[in-house]
């Protein structure tokens, strides 16, 4: 009885809140005035690849060009060079499959770009990203090229493409540029592995790799007629003893007046060049320029048939780089070294641009950009760079990785140059004449884990107050005086900003004022750990720029990393991984702190609650309790565990019951040690759902769904006393085909004002008493797949929760109010008055996602893998951060902003009303006075 009284008191507040929100339920939505201000979004592509990033004019009649790229995340997109905004984007691998190679080609004067990835060649409209045609090949693609023929036999419009595929039947196909139909197909005989395609204006060359008995690689060239597809010639290059791996093949040129193949020996001492179509191989010695060995050699050649046949070879060591420019004599096929570009410190990036037949090479180093003509070494343009304008670690040298340029030349000088550079920090920047124009934080596209942290300055005040509380009064007093004296130093700046703040206070709303102090806790630092081993921090209050960006792990290519992030102490971020000791970082500036953390143990990690640690072992879920095994969950034969979601560690619940319309209480089954487990039985096509008590391992709720499509993600979430999961099922007699969302809620008993088994007890142990909750579940038919579920979190859990669902098909995140999916919605009858008072509406099987529920509104959030939520300092608000390919963040108030004046509060209107009333009072007062006086004289 006592417990119930206390519960009632607790419940009062939440009832008031729900009652307040009930009147407004349909309005739980994205407001037009908040839409583009409160939320933020980085529409990312991922790190662009050098071979697949270029400038191209989408409309042949106009000179305006866009930057096209096919990134390492297999996102194809066009970026506006003016402001860095995304024009269009297509994700070519939505299922997370990583392809070894991908290709992107654009023919000169063409309005399409042609991509090749996996088994699929596709042409995309360059201006708007619509599909033009697609063709699947039998084997995986090895190369795609555009035929730039000069025989005038092909159609005037679209240029044809050639594709080389490997697999069981390696083939070369010529694809019609307009329709995507195969014009001819050439089957390559023999067991040689197809490597690349190369095309001159008259012939197509398929380059194959032939493995010799000694383990060396021999290059075999098959020459094809582009019109008929018949083999014209075939020969092998004498490269036996130098080429041991394909990594030493520096380049196979394509689409140039005279394509060539270049390779080196494994020690990078000589460079061998062969002009494709001839059998002669010329060798050039590579002179050592410094002590460190050469790391890689790259060839940069123009990509046009009618350009000069010049190319540049770029040598890179750990400390410096230099380059040689070579000319090919078209008449005799001789290659000559023309000139050298001197050695410069650091990394360099070279890019090739063409203007008519002329070829220009642009060199980007850490401090300057220079452009030279391929014909002579005279510098046509030089721009010095102070900084790339990106956030980097302290003392870190930002280096260019690769670049693409667009040069316009007038006479002997470069009149304008636009260069996009991928930097070692992961940023993709655009420089116009050496000045930074925009910066795309593409490293965030590979974010693996994130955490929220309080800024260090907010944390220091808390720490200082703690110091004062825990020392003796005299010391505390001295400390306090000192603190106030140091605070006094900020007085002048405060006085200066005072008038501005007053004006702002009158005109703006409190939610706008995020600049000065963060009373609401909106300005949290979001730290992202990327796959590339960097730690990137954003400020949730002003998310437009990166706060800091440090390198935390030097990874070798191909090395994978599984970082773990946490912020246990305010103002400090901890990074740990299995690879090495963890490090702590200052959340505000990214400086490493001294403390070292233990290495994370091996084995697959499952999200753990504080007391129970879960590990997966041979498909069995094992829980240990203070490092001693507690229980194990072994699925039935043929059943595999898909996902396990425990209740979040920090999941405050304000009320232990639900108040009904008639003021009675339904008690929630609140146990901090419960978890939702989803398993699949592939042979039967069934999905099993269990709610486990993680202390005893007992199953307290279970359900089976048949006819489930197990290839489509099953998302699940657990919070408070309820759980939700979604799946896709096949049509059957009792179910319709489509996607379903199931919401279940656990109660101590289904009788109001009754706590069931636990009636009088204040403490109970899941080990001793077997209490089974009463579960109410309801299934809703939803319009599309949910790939991930999350829930909003607020500081004290008073605010009602909102279910966040990631929709991969409509590129969005939808915030479903809990009231809309409440399993207590009355079925087959209208709600009673009491139920109406609670906000329950009649159950309908279909739950349509209202467009107003979309947190992203008109933005398109692509490739979201996870959604992270964090409470703000004020109770009404939860911070939301979604990551994957795109980065998206917003603030949500599921029960409306009851503790902050939002945009709906019109300060001006209030002031005007006060002023009008004041004026009215001044005018009316003498009148009333006169009237009263008159009245006295008249009637008395």
């Amino acid at each position: 009885m006592r417990a119930s009284n206390r519960a009632n008191a607790h419940i009062m507040l939440s009832t008031l809140l729900t009652a307040a929100s009930l009147f407004l339920v349909p309005a739980l939505a994205v407001f037009a005035d908040e839409a583009w201000n409160v939320d933020y979004h980085f529409a990312l592509l991922g790190a662009p690849k050098e071979e697949t990033s270029f400038f191209h004019q989408p409309n042949p009649s106009s000179r305006a060009s866009l930057i096209y790229t096919l990134s390492e995340q297999h996102a194809l997109g066009a970026v506006n060079p003016r402001d860095g905004s995304l024009v269009w984007r297509q994700l070519l691998s939505s299922d997370g499959v990583a392809y070894r190679t991908s290709f992107l080609r654009a023919g000169e004067g063409q309005d399409v770009v042609i991509s090749g990835i996996g088994h699929e060649v596709a042409a995309w409209s360059a201006a708007d990203g619509r599909l033009v045609w697609t063709l699947s090949t039998d084997g995986p693609l090895e190369d795609v090229e555009i035929l730039e023929l000069s025989d005038g036999k092909e159609t005037a419009g679209a240029k044809d493409a050639v594709a080389l595929s490997s697999g069981a039947n390696p083939t070369v196909q010529r694809i019609d540029g307009a329709s995507g139909a195969v014009k001819w197909q050439f089957n390559i005989d023999g067991s040689d592995a197809p490597y690349q395609l190369s095309a001159s204006s008259t012939q197509i060359f398929a380059i194959l790799l032939h493995k010799t008995i000694l383990g060396y690689v021999k290059l075999r060239v098959v020459v094809l007629d582009p019109v008929t597809g018949h083999k014209v010639d075939e020969y092998s290059l004498n490269s036996e003893n130098e080429l041991s791996t394909t990594e030493n093949i520096v380049s196979v040129g394509a689409n140039s007046a005279s394509p060539m193949i270049a390779w080196t020996d494994s020690l990078y001492t000589t460079l061998k060049v062969n002009v494709v179509g001839t059998k002669s191989i010329q060798s050039f010695d590579i002179a050592a320029h410094d002590d460190s060995p050469i790391e890689h050699v790259k060839v940069h050649a123009p990509y046009h048939v009618n350009s000069l046949s010049h190319f540049l070879v770029h040598y890179q060591t750990a400390a410096s780089h230099w380059a040689d420019v070579f000319h090919i004599n078209l008449k005799n096929g001789k290659v000559e070294k023309a000139y050298s570009l001197p050695k410069l410190a650091g990394r360099g990036a070279f890019s090739t641009s063409t203007s008519d037949a002329n070829v220009y090479f642009t060199r980007v180093t850490r401090d300057e950009i220079t452009t030279v003509s391929s014909a002579s070494h005279g510098v046509l343009g030089r721009w010095s760079l102070n900084t790339f304008g990106v956030a980097a670690g302290i003392g870190e040298q930002v280096e260019p990785i690769h670049a693409a340029s667009e040069v316009s030349v007038k006479g002997d000088t470069v009149s304008a140059i636009r260069t996009t550079i991928l930097l070692s920090t992961g940023d993709w920047v655009m420089l116009r004449d050496g000045k930074g124009i925009w910066n795309r934080p593409e490293m965030l596209a590979s974010t693996m884990v994130v955490t929220f942290a309080l800024p260090a300055d907010a944390a220091t005040l808390v720490q200082q107050l703690e110091v004062e509380a825990h020392s003796n009064p005299v010391a505390a007093y001295i400390h306090r005086v000192q603190r106030h004296l140091s605070d006094l130093q900020r007085l002048p700046s405060i006085i200066v900003s005072l008038p501005q703040q007053i004006v702002k206070g009158f005109l703006g709303t409190s939610a706008d004022d995020l600049t000065a102090s963060d009373t609401f806790g909106f300005r949290q630092i979001i730290v992202c750990a990327t796959r590339g081993g960097r730690l990137v921090a954003l400020d949730a209050g002003s998310p437009d720029k990166i706060v800091w960006n440090v390198n935390v792990a030097d990874l070798q290519p191909g090395q994978s990393r599984e970082p773990f992030l946490a912020s246990r102490i305010a103002g400090v971020v901890e990074v740990s991984s299995r690879a090495g000791a963890g490090i702590q970082y200052n959340a505000t500036n990214g400086q490493p702190l001294a403390e070292r953390l233990p290495v994370v143990p091996e084995g697959p990690q499952v999200p753990s609650s504080q007391v129970v640690l879960y590990t997966m072992h041979d498909g069995t879920l094992e829980a240990s309790f203070n490092r001693t095994p507690a229980w194990a969950f072994t699925p039935m034969h043929g059943e595999r565990i898909i996902d396990m979601v425990p209740r979040p560690v920090n999941d405050p619940v304000a009320s232990i019951g639900k108040v009904l319309g008639d003021r009675r209480v339904l008690y929630k089954y609140l146990d901090s040690n419960i978890a939702l487990l989803v398993t699949a039985q592939d042979s039967m096509g069934t999905a099993n759902v269990y709610v486990l008590s993680t202390v005893s391992g007992a199953i307290i709720y279970s359900n089976v769904h048949t006819g489930v499509d197990l290839t489509i993600p099953i998302a699940s979430i657990m919070s408070e006393n309820w759980f939700a999961y979604s799946f896709t099922n096949e049509a059957s007699d009792e179910a319709s085909k489509g996607h379903q969302l199931v919401v279940g809620e656990l109660f101590e008993s289904l009788v109001p004002d009754d706590r069931g088994m636990m009636g009088a007890t204040t403490n109970f142990s899941g080990m001793q008493t077997a209490t089974e909750p009463f579960a109410l579940t309801q299934t809703y038919q939803i319009p599309e797949v949910i790939s991930k579920l999350a829930v909003t979190r607020t500081r004290q859990g008073i605010t009602s929760r909102q279910l966040l669902a990631v929709l991969p098909d409509s590129n969005g995140i939808v915030g479903i109010p809990y009231g809309a999916v409440d399993p207590r919605r009355p079925v087959n009858r209208d709600p009673t008055k009491d139920e109406q008072a609670e906000g329950l509406v009649r159950y309908t099987a279909v739950l349509e996602f209202d467009p107003k529920w979309f947190l992203n509104h008109q933005r398109e959030i692509v490739g979201v893998k996870n959604v992270f939520t964090s409470p703000a300092l004020i109770e009404s608000t939860s911070l939301v951060f979604a990551y994957g390919l795109d980065i998206f963040g917003t603030r949500l108030s599921p029960s409306f902003s009851f503790d902050i004046l939002g945009k709906d509060f019109n300060k001006l209107q209030m002031l005007a009303t006060v002023a009008a009333l004041a004026v009215a009072t001044f005018i009316v007062a003498p009148l009333v006075m006169r009237k009263q006086v008159d009245q006295r004289w008249r009637f008395l």
């Binding site: 299922d95 990690q605 019109n906």
Partner: protein, 231 residues
């Protein structure tokens, strides 16, 4: 941490007589007068039996093409950033007359209803089928706040009451002045006797109401209440 299996998209196996479905989006004013304005992310999803799922991006000619469909019953949904499209059911079945060509048919379907509950047919064909699907409605993402509107401000009861009282304050003396003296006298008499004036009038009763006494529960109503006396 997740043990989700990667989504397996069935690869298109080329069958000589596989059915081909083309869905086109016509110009449908006033909702969508120009289908070329659809976002490039618009795509159609064909969901077949477990493990079969095809996704087709929007083409330059405002169509979606599914070249090779096996015999099954599919759910076709079109996802667009700005528009809702009705869900369709597409059935690919063996031809009744035993020819090589498959029969392909499309109907409207209704979410949350039995799969056999089919709506109007969109079309049927042998081997290939071209259907046209128009958007059902436009998505409205934004909630507009009730901004300041002078008419609604004036219409609000508070303001109306204020206006009426203003009219009385300014208007009454004017009316009184223009009344003939007899009428005025009558009015004054009535006011004296009226229920609102005088020491026992309603107005003075309200003014002298003993709140504390009433709250303390001294009797019910005015009969035994505090200073209010029954005559």
């Amino acid at each position: 941490m997740l043990l989700l299996t990667p989504l397996v998209f069935a690869t298109l196996t080329s069958i000589a007589s596989a059915a081909r479905l083309t869905v086109s989006i016509p110009s449908s004013p006033p909702l969508l007068p120009n289908p070329a304005s659809l976002a490039p992310s618009t795509h159609a999803i064909l969901l077949g039996p477990p493990g079969t799922r095809y996704s087709a991006p929007l083409r330059r000619d405002n169509t979606f093409a599914f070249p090779d469909l096996e015999e099954a019953s599919y759910l076709l949904t079109i996802q667009s950033r700005d528009y809702f499209f009705p869900p369709l059911r597409v059935d690919v079945t063996k031809a009744a007359d035993g020819t090589q060509e498959q029969t392909i048919a499309a109907w409207q379907t209704f979410r949350g209803n039995e799969w056999s509950n089919k709506g109007p047919q969109y079309g049927s064909g042998k081997g290939t089928l071209n259907i046209q699907v128009s958007p059902s409605s436009q998505k409205d993402f934004y909630q507009h706040r009730g901004g300041f509107d002078i008419m609604s401000f004036v219409k609000s009861p508070m303001i109306l009451m204020g206006l009426v009282s203003v009219v009385f304050i300014f208007g009454m003396p004017y009316i009184m002045d223009n009344m003939d003296p007899e009428m005025k006298e009558e009015m004054a008499e009535m006011q004296k006797k009226g229920p609102l004036s005088g020491s026992n009038g309603a107005a003075s009763q309200i003014q002298n109401f003993d709140m504390a006494g009433w709250l303390a529960g001294k009797g019910s109503g005015a009969e035994s209440g505090g200073t209010v006396k029954k005559r």
